[in-house]
C-alpha cells in the first residue's frame, strides 16, 4: 500500500517536472536570438514571412505555446525544421537507439572498470596497487574523450583491425564509442568506490567482523560492499544522463548519427520542435533513471526503508 502511494506520488512529481522543463525550454528557445530561417544567405522578407506562417511561427508566442502543449498531449511532436520531410518522432526514433546503445554500453564499461578498481584500491590502501589504480583513474578523468576516442580508434580500429574505426555498420560498432565514454566515467566511479569503501572499512562493524574471524574477501564483499557502493549508486543518475545526452563528442568522433548530434544541431539551427522533442526525450529518460536509482538505494539501505515506512 505504502509502496503504491509512494510510486504514484513520484509519478505526479515527475509529470509536473516534465511540464516545467517543457515550458522553460519552449520560452528559452524562443528568447534566443535568431530563428530557424536565418541563413547565411539573406532570405527575401516575403518568403521568410510565408515560411513562418506555414509553421505557425507568425502567431503570438502564448498561442504557439498552447498549440504545442495541445499537440504534445495527443503525442504529436511536430515536424523538424532542419531535417526536411522528417517528423521529430522519426528523428528521435532513428537517433535514440544509437545513443542508448553507446550510453548503456558506456555505463557497463564504467561499472566494470570502476568498481573493481576502486574496491582493489580501497582494500590495499596506501600501497603501490592503490597509487597505481588511482593514478590510472586520474588519467582517465583528465584526458578528454576527444583524445581517448581517436587513440582507441587508431589502436583497435586501424592498427589491430578488431573494430570499425568509424561508422555504424556492424553489431560490434558500439564497443569503441562505449569504451571511450566508459573510461572517463569508470575513472570517476573508481574514485567514488574507493572513497565509499574506505569509509565503510573504517567503521566499527568491520572490526566486529574481523573479530569474528571473517576473511578479508568476505569483509570486502559480504560486509562492506553494500554500504561502500552507495556513492556510486547516487552517481548513477547523473552519470547515465551525461552518458546518453552528452555523447555528442563521441558521436562526432566515431561518425555516429545519434541523438546527441541532433540535439546540438537542433539548438544551433533553432529547430524549435526538435529542440523540444529531444529535451522531452532526455527528461523522461533522466526522470526514469533517477526513480530507479531511488528504488535501488532503498533496496540497498535498510535504514532508508524504515524511514519511509
Amino acid at each position: 500500500m505504502d509502496q503504491t502511494r509512494y510510486i504514484l506520488s513520484r509519478l505526479g512529481q515527475s509529470l509536473l517536472a516534465l511540464f516545467c522543463i517543457i515550458t522553460i525550454t519552449f520560452f528559452i528557445a524562443r528568447l534566443a536570438p535568431g530563428g530557424p530561417f536565418n541563413d547565411d544567405k539573406a532570405v527575401p522578407a516575403h518568403i521568410q514571412a510565408k515560411m513562418e506562417a506555414y509553421y505557425g511561427l507568425d502567431k503570438p508566442l502564448p498561442v504557439q505555446y498552447i498549440k504545442y502543449i495541445g499537440n504534445l498531449l495527443t503525442g504529436d511532436f511536430g515536424s523538424s525544421f532542419g531535417n526536411k520531410g522528417f517528423t521529430v518522432a522519426e528523428v528521435i526514433a532513428q537517433g535514440a537507439p544509437i545513443s542508448l546503445a553507446i550510453g548503456l554500453g558506456g555505463l557497463l564499461f564504467a561499472l566494470a572498470i570502476g568498481i573493481p578498481l576502486g574496491t582493489l584500491a580501497a582494500s590495499r590502501k596506501n600501497t603501490k596497487t592503490d597509487y597505481f589504480s588511482m593514478s590510472f583513474a586520474m588519467l582517465g578523468i583528465c584526458i578528454p574523450t576527444f583524445v581517448v576516442g581517436p587513440l582507441l580508434a587508431i589502436f583497435f580500429g586501424l592498427r589491430l583491425g578488431w573494430f570499425n574505426a568509424w561508422g555504424w555498420f556492424q553489431p560490434t560498432d558500439w564497443i569503441l564509442p562505449s569504451l571511450t565514454l566508459g573510461i572517463y566515467y569508470g575513472a570517476y566511479i573508481a574514485r567514488l568506490t574507493r572513497g565509499g569503501m574506505l569509509e565503510i572499512l573504517g567503521q566499527d562493524y568491520i572490526r566486529t567482523a574481523r573479530a569474528k574471524g571473517v576473511s578479508q574477501f568476505n569483509i570486502l564483499f559480504g560486509h562492506a560492499f553494500r554500504g561502500g557502493i552507495i556513492p556510486v549508486v547516487n552517481f548513477l543518475g547523473p552519470a547515465l544522463a551525461g552518458l546518453i545526452s552528452g555523447s555528442f563528442v563521441v558521436e562526432t568522433i566515431f561518425g555516429l548519427d545519434g541523438l546527441g548530434q541532433h540535439f546540438i544541431t537542433a539548438a544551433t539551427n533553432r529547430d524549435y520542435p526538435l529542440i523540444l522533442g529531444t529535451v522531452f526525450f532526455y527528461a523522461v529518460l533522466i526522470i526514469t533513471v533517477n526513480f530507479l536509482v531511488d528504488l535501488l538505494q532503498v533496496w540497498l539501505n535498510p535504514r532508508l526503508r524504515a524511514a519511509r515506512a
Binding site: 566486529t208 567482523a209 569474528k212 574471524g213 571473517v214 553494500r226 554500504g227 539501505n301
Partner: protein
Amino acid sequence: MPLLDVKDLKVHFHTREGIVRAVDGVSFSLEKGGTLGIVGESGSGKSVTCYSLLGLIPMPPGRIEGGTAHFDGTDLLQLGESGLRKVRGKRISMIFQDPMTCLNPFLKIKDQLIEPLLLHTDTNKTDALKEAIKALGDVGIRDPEKTVHAYPHEFSGGMRQRVMIAMALITKPELLIADEPTTALDVTIQKQVLDLIKDRQKALGTAVIFITHDLAVVSEVCDHVNVMYAGRFVESAPTDVLFKSPAHAYTRALQASIPALQEKGKPLYTIPGAPPNLLALPKGCTFAPRAAVKDGHLDTQPPFAEIKPGHFAQNCPACLKISEPQMSKDLIL
C-alpha cells in the same frame, strides 16, 4: 596451566612523528573461567594489549616487538593471519564499546549472528538460525523468533549490546574480551549488561577480560585487576586486595576519582594533568609528573615487583608512599 599466559608483550606503532610505545612489556595470565580486569585511562594501551593478541591492530603502522601470548599452549603472536582467523570468533570472542556502531546496519541480525557458526563449525543454515534464536533468548531478548529477522537500527543500544554478547558467545568461546562493554550505555542498562555477562560466563564457563576505565565495573565483576598506565602495568592484585589496600599512587588516584565514593557538595576529585605523550615518555617513573608526592621518583624504569604475596606494583618509592592524595589540597581542583 593458565588458559592465557602473556609474557612481556610489546606493541609499538611506527608513525611519522616517531615510535609510539603503546604497550611496553606487559605480562599477565588468566585461568579457565576466570575474570581479569585491565583498568586505565584512555590511551593507556589497554585496548591495544588485547587487540594485538588477535592481530586486530593495523599493521603497519603497528608492530609486535616482542613477547609471547600462549593461549591453551599455542603462541597467538606466532599464528599469523590465517591461523588467528580460526581463533577469532571461535575460541576468543570480543565485544566492543559502542553497540550503536558495532553491528553492520546493512545486514539482518540473523545473518550477523549465524556468521560465526557458519565460519567455524559444520552447522548448516537452518540449525544455525535455530541456535541464533536460542542465543537471543538467552541474552534476554523478547520474541527472538521475530526479532532475529530485524535490522540493527530497530534495536536500542542496550538491546544491541545484548545482540553483540549473543553473537560473541554463540560459538561458546573459551575467552571473551570485553572492551569497555558498558561505557556507551545508560547507567541502568550498564548493570543489566554486566549481570548478563556474568550470567552467561557462569553458564558457559568462559573466561573474561574486562577492559575498562571504570573501577566500579571492575569491583563488581573481576577476580583480579591489572592497572595500566602509559603502556605498562603499574599494579596487579586480586580485586579485594587492590580495593582495600591500593599500593600505587595512580591506583589510589583512580579510586579517589570514583564519584560515588566522594563527599557530596564538594568538587569531584580528578587526577591532575593528562596521560603522558607516548612519543616522548618521561625517563624513569612515568607517573611522576602527576603524582601528589613530587620527590623521590626513580629516574630509571621502576621494576614491577611483588610488594606483598600476590600483590605486584611498579616499585617507585615515591609512588608507593601513602599520601592520601584525595586529602591533598593541591590535588582538589
